[in-house]
Amino acid sequence: MGLRDDLLKEPVSKLAISPGVRFPPTAPVRAAVEALREKREGCVIVVNDHGRPEGKFTEHQLAGLIATRPGFLDEPISRHMRTAWAQIRIDEPIASLIHKLQDYRLRYVIVVDEEGKAQGVIGQRALMHFISEYFPHHVKTSRMSAKVSMDAREGA
């Protein structure tokens, strides 16, 4: 089987699902931002008391908020979370994830179990990990820096 077949048949559970950063709607944006920074994540899942997702807050929203809403860091996350989000069941094929990412122009999709409880978050990075496994020999071996010349001459 090749990559195309695997994308169509393999379930989302084969991807590296991040447990995600979860906060209640009352948490301040500042706490969410700190958690994103510490855990190197790009998306916070806002969950209710039953663990069901109510919204999401992503780092993509930051530029807009900084530019237009001074003081937003101390406001509750519920005021700025996106209440329209996409979710995917853990047993759906990876191709469905690709369609959702494209249809809704998303970076992250919330992964839920059969009962609708949030299991984590999955994004484009996990998809890139999955695809890159098919091309172990295609690593970039040319120079990695944008610097045109070396600071010092190589050798003696």
Binding site: R4, V33, I98, L101, Q102, L127, M128, Y134, F135, H138
Partner: protein
Amino acid sequence: MTPKRQRRAVEVGEYSDPLKRYDGNPPQDDLERQLCEGTVAQIAQTPVAFISPIDTVEDGVQRMAELNVGCLLVVETDRLVGIFTQSDLLLRVIDRYDLIKGTLLRDVMTPDPIFVRNTDQPAKAINLMSVGGFRHIPVLDCDDRIVGLIGPRRVTAYLREHFAKV
């Protein structure tokens, strides 16, 4: 004194080329073939949002917000000198925005970003995103001119176009 090791004679037909697996497995389907034999230019996104290193952090944030983009390429005399992304915003700007909004962008950008050539294979760019954790990778031509930007959204769009074709 250690005894000298005797080299064992190689039987006829026993020799095995150690580089025979160097090229890896051949592509299993058309999608794999296109990703490992095509070029980044087929996927790369243009136009790209630019900014100057002597613009301020406030200019950068405003531009990102207006254009609704995740990264700006920082360009000086038509040369790529850095990249300013949402990660830079999260890691270096957001907590002290009021203090540093007048700072020059070159002090908070990521200098000398990783890039790919427009002739590199898409698989190389995907590997860079995966291993390096980069969301956006500038695409340069052989004269170091910026010709595009490749990111996961373009890759997923390409994958879906491929599904639609088959």
